[in-house]
């Protein structure tokens, strides 16, 4: 029997970064196919190609034996390919019923020209919600007012209401409660038995073991292996997901005495159900890593420590003094001295059209201004020393930041916060999308900052980096620290195993 879907030789590059290289995927009717891989292995890109969101540079896609082109999401939808994404595709200002019926709503009088039949649409929405076990959601409620887990149920109901032939789920259950997951799985099994092909990405190994019929593993944008579920142990699967040698590009780590008073001490920090009872301590000169899968609360934790969240509970002490982190402006004062190197440098880190000078001096502008007037000479001196320290390659400090390369832009982001001479530096995946050479310079810089008695909290999606740079790595899962790895226990195998919350897979070290 020919499979329903066959993808061959799919490649996709973003600039010099390879997202997919000759990847393939085949899945059959009546099967649930799990797609596995590390962060950045290309799983999401593969799904996005299928959903018509991303156009591959090369490769063919066949649906039921026929070659098919998917230039946009509407084309995928017409072909019967329906996807549920990690980033929700719901329209917040519209009602639940409008969202579920957005693409092909029931009409009155005429199938294509008639006005939307709101009663029929509502009945359809109610049926779709009941089918996924979310009958508690009112069809007239605005999506904006629903909590995240309910929105995700609406998203799934919306996908099913479109009557798909091929259903794609990209981390579709990540925000659901256990009860919701159970009812969604029941529906998925029912759909499979009805002959649907289902492709799903999940980072929860238990879910994969419970649901999948077939598995495909990807690594670095390439297809590694496909096999029936249950024919490999989770240990073997993790080896397939890692399976690469890496050369040492990291500066050496000096050993440290741990008796000193911590620069940052956090106790029992929680926020909005997304962060749960976080305890951590960082001493001056330490680099502490935050690991785990994408979106397990690492980013929220950094934002909480930076003062960008409201309603954070728990206590934070800086050098033994309890502090309230109420806003980024407060936390960047020389006394507080907390800096955040943001992940999305284009929106949160830099003002792209403004000059290198302006970008570098924004955060530290109080240090060389008096009564609101900027002392240009002091500013220039500070900037010159920062450009030297970081080795920023720019034509001049008055050109726009947008003209710099990605790596140099990232250096400007880092430099901007180093100008405030912070004692505590929070880094949110600072090496994403920059070249290897600049990465190495950044690793050295991190170590130099630590040697200068700064305390660093470093979130990275790259496990190599965590192992190479950090004295200790905290693994987050579902908003809580599930494991602390240091010394010999700090291995890629242990990180991947803890990240999937598999303590049985041989992770050493105990939770704090």
């Amino acid at each position: 029997m020919t499979p329903l879907l066959r993808m061959e030789g799919i490649s996709k590059h973003y600039g010099g970064v390879r997202a997919l290289e000759g990847a393939r995927l085949a899945c059959a009717r009546g099967r649930i196919h799990a797609v596995l891989g590390e962060n950045g292995a290309g799983k999401s890109t593969l799904i996005k190609v299928l959903a018509g969101v991303v156009q591959p540079d090369a490769g063919t896609i066949e649906l039921a034996g026929e070659p098919i082109a998917l230039p946009d999401p509407a084309a995928a939808s017409r072909a019967g390919i329906v996807s549920v994404f990690q980033e929700l595709s719901l329209l917040p200002d519209l009602s639940v019923a409008d969202n579920i019926g957005i693409v092909d709503p029931p009409r009155m009088w005429h199938r294509t020209w008639g006005p939307i039949d709101r009663r029929a649409q509502r009945r359809r929405a109610e049926a779709a919600l009941a089918r996924v076990g979310a009958g508690d959601i009112h069809p007239l409620a605005q999506v904006r007012d629903l909590p995240l887990s309910r929105r995700q149920m609406v998203e799934i109901a919306k996908a099913l209401a479109r009557d798909p032939k091929l259903l794609l789920l990209d981390e579709a259950t990540s925000a659901l409660t256990a009860a919701d997951v159970a009812s969604v799985f029941r529906v998925l099994r029912q759909l499979r038995d009805d002959g649907l092909a289902i492709v799903f990405i999940s980072h929860r190994m238990q879910e994969i073991a419970e649901l999948a019929d077939d598995c495909s593993v990807y690594r670095n944008g390439c297809h590694v292996a496909s096999f029936p579920a249950g024919s490999k142990t989770s240990g073997e699967i993790i080896e397939m997901m890692i399976g690469r040698e890496h050369e040492s590009v990291f500066p050496p780590r000096p050993g440290r005495a741990s008796s000193e008073r911590p620069a940052l001490a956090v106790k029992n920090l929680s926020w909005a159900g997304r962060l749960r009872n976080i305890d951590l301590e960082i001493r001056p000169g330490e680099v502490v890593g935050l690991g785990g899968l994408d979106g397990q609360g690492q980013r929220d934790l950094l934002l909480a420590l930076f003062g960008a969240l409201t309603g954070v509970t728990g206590s934070v002490a800086v050098h033994g003094v309890p502090v309230t982190l109420s806003s980024p402006q407060r936390t960047r004062l020389p006394g507080g001295g907390i800096a955040l190197i943001p992940e999305d440098r284009k929106t949160e880190g830099l003002m792209l059209p403004m000059s290198v000078r302006e970008n570098l001096s924004f955060a530290a502008i109080d240090q060389f201004s008096r009564f609101g007037w900027i002392d240009r000479r002091a500013e220039e001196a500070a900037i010159a020393s920062m450009i030297r320290l970081l080795g920023i390659r720019a034509d001049g400090i008055d050109g726009p930041v947008a003209a710099l390369s990605g790596g140099n832009q990232q250096k400007v982001v880092i430099g901007k916060w180093l100008m405030t001479r912070p004692q505590i530096i929070l880094l949110n995946d600072p090496t994403r999308g920059i070249d290897v050479g600049t990465k190495q310079e950044l690793y050295r810089l991190l170590r130099e900052l630590a040697d200068g008695r700064a305390a660093l909290l470093f979130y990275s999606t790259d496990y190599d980096e965590l192992i190479g740079c950090c004295d200790r790595v905290l693994i987050l899962y579902d908003g809580a620290i599930v494991n602390v790895l240091e010394g010999d226990a700090l291995t890629e195998h242990n990180i991947v195993a803890s990240a999937h919350n598999l303590t049985a897979a041989g992770a050493a070290g105990a939770p704090p």
């Binding site: 509407a74 995928a76 917040p92 009602s95 934002l303």
Partner: protein, 334 residues
């Protein structure tokens, strides 16, 4: 979850929640209008109501034109110019035999639609920001208006004009009938069409709309076309009220700005995605009634702009209460 009091009551609560803007604007208007007619020396006479209706309907039509691009998170700065330009055109072509009058009205409407279509093309195909695209096309339309009518003047078929600005049975102003007809014949079907809902979807989250396979280009284009159509209807009505045409740039500009104010007072979000024409109509009447109130209370006309500004500021502030519930400060800047 709040206490359930039967499915009907629940439905009603959700309906109220999603129509809060128009309901507030309607209540505000009714309260103001009640004060106006009780204070007016002539009381609730047909004449008073008719004058108020004609003034209100003019702004309401222009503001409804503005509403539709705003729903897509756009803006149409050319509505005032289209309004003035179609006024100049109508003062030339809507005259003669009944057949010629009919053809003239049709021509005015077609020209309005064409202006909107040009705006839509520039925004959709040219991918220019609506605010700057319509600023430019608006200047063009103003230029065409001057070319059509270098000096104020012209004429319109008087029977037609008197009919449009008169009252049915001396009770219901015909301009209100036109307004209601425009809503029932154009707005309501649009609101319930796929492209109408696409406009809300785009304003709510263009990315999510794209991911859901919403026809974005067609929906945006139609939004600007409808804006041109409503602005042309307003231009026709203006010609009927003044019996003449004038390429008055000040008038166009003031109507453009008031239309944005009416949209906001009527509960439509400038970020797009929520609101609608009904709220806007009440918003327009609120703005017009403020002027009338100041008149009957004998307040110095020079302070009228100040009062208008205060009312506008208060209405806009009502919309920002949601910010108090934000959990992540970065969300404030979305």
């Amino acid at each position: 979850m709040t206490a359930v009091t039967g499915p009907r009551a629940q439905d009603a609560r959700y309906w109220l929640a999603s129509h809060r803007g128009p309901i507030l604007a309607a209540a505000l208007f009714l309260a103001m209008f009640a004060v106006f007619v009780t204070e007016h020396p002539a009381g609730l006479s047909g004449n008073v109501v008719n004058t108020a209706a004609n003034k209100g309907a003019l702004l309401a039509l222009v503001a409804v034109a503005q509403t539709i691009p705003v729903l897509t998170a756009g803006l149409d700065l050319s509505v005032g110019s289209v309004f003035v330009m179609t006024n100049c055109l109508a003062s030339t072509v809507v005259t003669g035999t009944p057949r010629e009058v009919g053809l003239g009205v049709a021509l005015v409407v077609v020209v309005g639609v064409a202006c909107g279509a040009l705006n839509g093309l520039v925004v959709v195909v040219g991918r220019l920001q609506p605010i700057i695209a319509t600023l430019a096309t608006g200047a063009m339309y103003q230029g065409i208006a001057l070319w059509l009518r270098p000096a104020p003047g012209g004429e319109i078929d008087e029977d037609f004009a008197d009919f449009v600005t008169g009252s049915l049975g001396d009770v219901i102003p015909f301009s209100i009938v036109v307004l209601i007809a425009a809503v029932v014949v154009i707005w309501v079907p649009y609101r319930r069409s796929v492209l109408g809902r696409a406009a809300y979807a785009i304003g709510s989250s263009e990315q999510a709309a794209y991911m859901s396979g919403v026809p974005i280009a067609r929906a945006k284009f139609l939004a600007y076309v409808l804006a041109g159509l409503f602005a042309a209807l307003a231009g026709l009505l203006l010609t009927c009220v003044t019996y003449s045409g004038e390429a008055n740039a000040l008038l166009g500009g003031s109507y453009t700005l008031s239309s944005i104010a009416a949209v906001v007072v009527g509960g439509t979000s400038l970020y797009g995605g929520s609101g609608g024409a009904i709220g806007t109509i009440f918003g327009a009447f609120v703005l017009r009634t403020i002027g009338d109130l100041l008149f009957v209370f004998d307040i110095d006309p020079l302070s009228q702009p100040l009062f208008l500004g205060v009312v506008l500021l208060i209405s806009v502030s009502l919309g920002s209460f949601r910010l108090l519930r934000v959990k992540k400060r970065l969300d404030l800047y979305r």
